[in-house]
């Protein structure tokens, strides 16, 4: 009987220990994998930086139990689909690419959520990111962050250093314009008059002095907006009154119109990247492009004809503006978490796991991603991998810190951009004078702003 009691006692103790161990293990696993079984669906643009994070997904699932599905679509397809999903409140996407051009619309509609609390709760230090990568995702009176830093970009100006340093070219320029051919640097950028002269000088048989995409609404707007800023103008003031009927805006249109003489006429219809073939063929003395275009220009595998001969420069400044630098549009975007996401914390967990971890973020960057962590931007590993990029980073850092500005962001931004693109195209085609353009754009933009005032 005693023996039976002992056996029973041991049995109960063993069972209790086993249960405790099992329960404890379950608790530990649950604590480590709080989102086990969750599925996070991302809607992103089909391009290199999204391709580059796909290989990380299996490791993330193995570690957290969260499966990440990624849909990569063209801009139009993604935008149309996500708007339909949002309007129907399906919760299909947990994370979407947030383009600055439409940011205010989605926020205004309540389709995406602010991430400030998530950064706090997950203990993510915002200072580790490039300021520009955060700034592009800020919106509203309290500057809330609406998307995870993913891509911070702007236009870097590129020039053919071999041509600019060529003694014959320099002599010819001096003779024609009466001053030395300027070589633009961060400390000594070209001014707008010099820029026009240089563009004109290099426009000759088989070569254009300058060219950049100007087609459609997006690039039509992006091709006039920075010049308006550079000459001291703005689309509207703090009270959302249009400020385009202004001599500084007229000057910007006039400058852009004059610069057009040194560009291929087809540039007015060019879209993203359409100038790269001409740049790589050596038919452009100067151009401007997003960072990856600047990096690729000196990559012997991408642009063998000009690699090693492309210099990086800030935009020209307009002396009459009183500023010592010009402006470029802050580009890129972020990954926003949708308001209808079934598990927004799981979505944020993925974003932090990949983009806030230095080791993974570096691997992502080097395999075609982007740099949003300050430590990685021009890390030694990056310079080792891309030796031709050494001259790029100082200029890029300067641009992100000094010349970039967030584009006008209101719920009906796209309509304003349509007006500005159309107005610029009419100026370039000679249908509107700069004065008429400023007046016309002013009244049309003001009418649009009246809807949100």
């Amino acid at each position: 009987m005693k023996r039976y009691s002992t056996v029973r006692r041991y049995g109960i103790v063993t069972l209790a220990v086993t249960l405790l161990l099992a329960f404890g293990t379950t608790l530990t696993v649950a604590q480590e994998r709080p989102h086990e079984g969750a599925v996070v669906t991302i809607g992103d643009l089909a391009r290199g930086i999204s391709d580059a994070y796909l290989p990380f997904l299996p490791a993330f699932e193995a570690e957290t139990g969260i499966r990440v599905d990624v849909e990569q679509l063209s801009f139009d397809a993604l935008f149309d689909k996500m708007m339909l999903e949002f309007a129907a409140r399906t919760g299909y996407y947990d994370i979407v690419y947030l383009s600055p051009g439409f940011m205010a619309t989605l926020i205004d509609a309540g389709y995406v959520i602010t991430l400030d609390e998530y950064f706090d709760d997950h203990g993510i230090d915002l200072d580790q990111f490039l300021a520009a990568a955060i700034d592009i995702n800020r919106y509203g009176p309290d500057d809330a962050i609406w998307a995870y830093p993913y891509l911070a970009d702007t236009s870097v100006f590129l020039y053919r250093s071999d041509l600019f340093e060529d003694p014959d070219e320099r002599a010819a320029f001096l003779e024609r314009y009466g001053y030395e051919l300027p070589i633009p640097t961060v400390d000594d950028p070209m001014n707008t008059d010099e820029f026009l002269d240089v563009a004109e000088f290099f426009t000759r048989d088989g070569m254009y002095g300058f060219a950049y995409p100007q087609g459609g609404t997006a690039y039509g707007n992006l091709s006039i907006l920075p010049w308006i800023w550079t000459f001291g103008g703005e689309y509207y003031d703090a009270d959302f009154n249009a400020t385009l009927d202004d001599p500084r805006v007229v000057e910007a249109f006039r400058f852009a119109q004059e610069l057009q003489q040194s560009q291929p006429a087809g540039a007015l219809a060019w879209d993203y990247g359409d100038h790269i073939p001409m740049l790589c063929d050596g038919r452009l003395a100067m151009t401007a492009g997003w960072f990856h275009i600047g990096l690729d220009a000196n990559n012997p595998d991408v642009c063998p004809a000009v690699a090693g001969s492309v210099g990086y420069a800030p935009p020209p400044y307009a002396p009459e503006s009183g500023l010592d630098h010009g402006f470029t549009v802050l580009g890129g975007g972020g990954l926003a978490i949708t308001a209808d996401s079934a598990d927004p914390d799981a979505a944020f967990t993925f974003l932090s796991w990949l983009f806030a971890d230095e080791e993974r973020a570096l691997e992502w960057y080097l395999s075609g991603g982007a740099a949003t962590l300050s430590a990685l931007y021009d890390a030694p590993e990056v310079l080792d991998a891309w030796p031709w990029a050494a001259d790029f980073f100082p200029v890029a850092n300067y641009l992100l810190a000094t010349t970039t500005k967030q584009r006008p962001t209101v719920p009906n931004s796209h309509e304003i951009f349509e007006v500005m693109a159309e107005t610029w195209h009419n100026v370039a085609l000679g249908r509107l004078t700069p004065e008429e353009a400023a007046r016309s754009a002013h009244s049309r933009v003001d009418a649009l702003l009246s809807m949100i005032r």
Binding site: F86, G266, L268, A269, L429
Partner: protein, 316 residues
Amino acid sequence: MTTRTTSQPPPPGPKPRKAREGAPHWGATSLFIGPALLALAVVAVLPTVWAVVSSLFDWHFHRPQARTFVALGNYLRLASDPRFLNAAWVTTIYTTVSVSATLVLGTLLALLTKAPFPGKALVRALLTVPMIMTPVVSTLVWKTFFFEADAGLVNWLLGLAGIQGPAWVASSPSALITILVVNVWFMTPFVYLVMDAALEGLPGEVIDAAKIDGAGYWQRVQFVVLPMLRATIVFTVIFRITIDARMFEIIHVMTGGGPARDTEVLTLWVYNAALRNFHLGYGNAGGVVLMLLVGSVCLAILLVGVRDLYQRTGST
């Protein structure tokens, strides 16, 4: 004992119904066309009704819950919207020129290839190639390979002749010309195939009789062949109008409606208004106007064409 033989009359009761010849078999008919009608209702009728209803509201895509009934307000706004009126004008020019050009070219090609000649099958096959190509891909080829201002084939050829070609898709009216060229290239094979089939079906004896009467080739075409093709032409024109007035992809890829809205047709306008600027009700009003315009034009052509056809054939 009574026996029943087969010659006995059938027991009283309802007479078996005798199927009348030519009477509709409603059960079988419904079974066969029901699914098709249901599919049509789901994919065509319901969206159309929805578009008409939504066009009566001030309704924004990014605030779907907040909609205000404005009755015909959106339609009145369209009447004074210069961008919409411009798109309607561009659509009219684009459709008229494109339909006319494809009709003439397709018919001419069908006439030219009617007579037997060596390699006819190959020529026929080659003529239909554009139709089987993906519109977006072929448009990109046209844009980058043929119409690129600096490195395109067209301007290179013009350069050989000492002519400075324009920036085709970046200036006016060349941008409109480029989308017309691509569309004509793309759609002419369809007209060719229809006309070729119609020509094959024409009664040879009528044409032979005209030949015996001394009619020349073009006289036979003008006074015998084309009148006999009238029904086919009416059908082709209507079909082509419905395609061209709704054309989107070629223009979207080629010019995006630019430069400065010079090639923005109504479909692009609707797309921009509803899906880019989120004015869903207003954009749908534009879509309804487009539908009514196309429907009215096609109905008018059908009525005129068919009436004329009946008069010619003596039918009532």
